[in-house]
C-alpha cells in the first residue's frame, strides 16, 4: 500500500465495506476452562452481503454457536473483529434479531406479551407495535393464540412465536441458532418453507446455524462449513438452486449433489 493510499484508506475502506452486511475479520476465540484454554474459533474471515441467506454448518462443538454469539455481540472475541453494516460490534444491537434453539418464551406472559417483549425492553411505545405483532402472528399461523400461554402451544408454534418476537422490531439481520433443531421432521420442513417466504418478502440478512445438511442446502445462498475444533472455515459452498424453493427443490439431482458434497466434506 502506498502512502497516498494509506491516507485515503479509511474512506476507501468504508466504501468497500458498504457491500457487506456482516464482515468478520481474522476472528479468534479461546475459552478458559479448568482443563486449560480451549480454542473454539481460529482465523475466521467471512463477508456476508445484505439480504443474503447464509448457513453455518459443522459438527457439534465446532464453534458455530460461538461465532453466532460473537456476531450478536453477546460474547467477546479473543482477537479480530466483526462489523455490522460497517459498525464494529461491541454489544448487542437492535439491528440484530436472535432466534435460539429453544423458543425461550416467558411462561408467565401471553404469546402477545411475549412477542412484545423487545418493544418494552427497548423503551418503545407498546401501542405502536400491537397491530404489527398481531399481523406477524397471523402470518405465522398463530392468529387466535395471542392470549394463550406458551405451554398451551406446541413446540413448533412456540418457535414461530419466538420468530415473530425476533422480527417485530424489524432488525436488518436475523441470527438463528439451530432454531428448528428440536422440531419433528415434518414441522421442520414446513418451518423452512415459511422462513424462506418471510426472508424473501423482507430482504433481511440471515445467518442460520444448523447441523442438518439438507436444511442448510435448502435454505441458503451459501453454506459455510466449519472444521472441527478449533473452528476454521473449511469451505464455502455456493448453493445455486433456483428460487423460490419448495419441497420439490429437495428432489432435484443438484440438491442431492450438494448434500453429498457437504456430507463428504463434513467427514
Amino acid at each position: 500500500m502506498t502512502h497516498a493510499e494509506a491516507l485515503t484508506s479509511s474512506a476507501h475502506r468504508t466504501a468497500m465495506n458498504s457491500t457487506a452486511a456482516i464482515r468478520v475479520t481474522d476472528l479468534y476465540k479461546t475459552y478458559r476452562s479448568v482443563a486449560g484454554p480451549v480454542r473454539a474459533l481460529e482465523g475466521i474471515d467471512v463477508d456476508i452481503r445484505p439480504g443474503e441467506f447464509v448457513s453455518l454448518i459443522g459438527k457439534s462443538g465446532c464453534g458455530k454457536s460461538t461465532l453466532l454469539q460473537i456476531i450478536a455481540g453477546l460474547v467477546r472475541p479473543s482477537r479480530g473483529k466483526v462489523l455490522l453494516e460497517d459498525v464494529p460490534v461491541v454489544k448487542a444491537s437492535r439491528k440484530v434479531g436472535l432466534v435460539f434453539q429453544k423458543s425461550v418464551l416467558l411462561e408467565w406472559r401471553t404469546i402477545l406479551d411475549n412477542v412484545l417483549l423487545p418493544v418494552e425492553l427497548f423503551h418503545l411505545v407498546r401501542a405502536g407495535y400491537v397491530d404489527r405483532a398481531r399481523e406477524l402472528l397471523g402470518m405465522m399461523g398463530l392468529a387466535g393464540f395471542e392470549n394463550s400461554y406458551p405451554d398451551e402451544l406446541s413446540g413448533g408454534m412456540q418457535q414461530r412465536a419466538a420468530i415473530v418476537r425476533s422480527l417485530l422490531c424489524d432488525p436488518d439481520i436475523l441470527l438463528m441458532d439451530e432454531p428448528f433443531g428440536a422440531l419433528d421432521a415434518l414441522t421442520r420442513e414446513q418451518m423452512n418453507v415459511e422462513l424462506l417466504r418471510i426472508w424473501q418478502a423482507s430482504g433481511k440478512t440471515i445467518i442460520f446455524v444448523t447441523h442438518d445438511i439438507a436444511e442448510a442446502v435448502f435454505l441458503s445462498d451459501r453454506v459455510i462449513l466449519l472444521s472441527e475444533r478449533p473452528g476454521r472455515v473449511k469451505e464455502i459452498v455456493k448453493i445455486e438452486l433456483p428460487r423460490p424453493r419448495t419441497i420439490e427443490t429437495t428432489y432435484l439431482p443438484q440438491f442431492a449433489d450438494y448434500r453429498r458434497h457437504l456430507r463428504e466434506q463434513l467427514g
Binding site: A92, V96, L98, F100, W108, R109, E120, Y149
Partner: protein, 288 residues
C-alpha cells in the same frame, strides 16, 4: 343439489366431533364421580375419627381426653359469651405482624443476596448460624428484652418466619435459565429490566411457597412466645387451661387455633391467586 352436498361434506368431521363430545362428557361424568367420591371419603374420615375419639374418651377421664361433644359445647360457649375473641384478636395480630415483618426482612434480604454474590458469601455463615440456633429457645430472652406485650411475640414470629422466604427468594431469583438471561442481554435489557421483567416473575412461585411457610412459622412463633409469658392470646389460654386442669378448654382452643392457622394459610394462597398469570394483577397491568 347444493344442499345435499353441503349436508354430505361435513358428515365425517361431525362424527369425529360427536365422538369428541362423548369423550368430553365421559370426562365430565368421571370428574363428577371423582368429586362425589372425594366428598364421601372426607365425610367418612371425619365421622370415623370423631367416633374413635368418642370411643377413646369414654374409656378415660375427661381430664385426659374430653369427648368431642363437650369440646364442641365449650367452643360454642366461649364464642357466645365472647370471651375468646380478644384472645383470637391478639394472637392473630401477633401472627400477621410477625408474618409481615418476617416477610419484609426475608424478601428484602433475599433480593439483596441474590443481587450481590459478595454479600451472599459474607452473610451466609451468619444466616446459617441464625438458623442453627434453636430459635424457640430464644423466646424467653425476647420476652426479657421486649416485655410481656405483643412486641416479643411479633419478633419471635418474624425471626422464624423470615428464613424460608429468604432462601426461596434467593433460589427463585438466581435459578433463571441462562437462555432467558441471554435473550434479555440480546435485547439490551438493563439490570432493572432484567430484575422486574425476568428474575422477579420467575421467582414468584418460589416466593409464594416461602410466604406460605412463613405464615405457618409465624403462627408457631406467636404461640410459643405466648407460652413463655403472656396473659392474652390463644397460647396464653392453653397455658391457663393447662394450669387449671381444664383439658376440655385446651382442646377447644387448639381447634380454634388450627382453624385460624388454616385460614391464614388460605389467605396467602388467595394472595397468590391474585398474582397468578391471568390473575387480577396481571390483567390490571395489561390494561395500563
Amino acid at each position: 343439489m347444493n344442499e345435499s352436498v353441503a349436508r354430505e361434506v361435513p358428515a365425517p368431521p361431525s362424527e369425529v366431533e360427536d365422538e369428541f363430545i362423548e369423550t368430553l362428557e365421559d370426562d365430565e361424568q368421571n370428574g363428577r364421580r371423582r368429586i362425589a367420591l372425594e366428598l364421601t371419603l372426607t365425610a367418612a374420615v371425619i365421622v370415623v375419627s370423631l367416633a374413635l375419639w368418642s370411643f377413646l374418651a369414654s374409656l378415660t377421664s375427661p381430664l385426659v381426653l374430653p369427648a368431642p361433644g363437650r369440646v364442641g359445647e365449650v367452643i360454642v360457649d366461649i364464642t357466645k359469651n365472647g370471651s375468646v375473641f380478644k384472645h383470637i384478636e391478639t394472637t392473630t395480630l401477633e401472627i400477621i405482624l410477625g408474618f409481615i415483618l418476617g416477610s419484609a426482612i426475608g424478601l428484602g434480604a433475599g433480593i439483596a443476596l441474590a443481587w450481590s454474590p459478595l454479600l451472599r458469601r459474607l452473610a451466609s455463615p451468619y444466616l446459617v448460624a441464625s438458623q442453627a440456633v434453636p430459635k424457640l429457645a430464644l423466646a424467653p430472652m425476647f420476652t426479657l428484652w421486649l416485655g410481656y406485650g405483643i412486641a416479643s411475640k411479633v419478633v419471635i414470629a418474624a425471626l422464624i418466619a423470615f428464613f424460608p422466604l429468604l432462601e426461596n427468594t434467593v433460589v427463585g431469583l438466581c435459578a433463571v435459565e441462562s437462555e432467558k438471561l441471554m435473550l434479555f442481554k440480546s435485547l439490551l435489557a438493563n439490570e432493572i429490566q432484567t430484575f422486574t421483567k425476568l428474575r422477579l416473575p420467575h421467582a414468584r412461585p418460589y416466593i409464594f411457597a416461602g410466604l406460605r411457610m412463613a405464615m405457618l412459622f409465624a403462627t408457631v412463633g406467636a404461640i410459643v412466645g405466648e407460652y413463655v409469658g403472656s396473659d392474652v392470646g390463644l397460647g396464653a389460654m392453653i397455658i391457663v387451661s393447662d394450669g387449671t386442669m381444664n383439658t376440655t378448654l385446651m382442646f377447644a382452643v387448639l381447634i380454634i387455633l388450627t382453624a385460624l392457622g388454616i385460614l391464614l394459610y388460605k389467605l396467602v394462597q388467595w394472595m397468590e391467586m391474585l398474582f397468578q398469570r391471568g390473575g387480577v394483577v396481571a390483567r390490571l397491568r395489561r390494561t395500563r
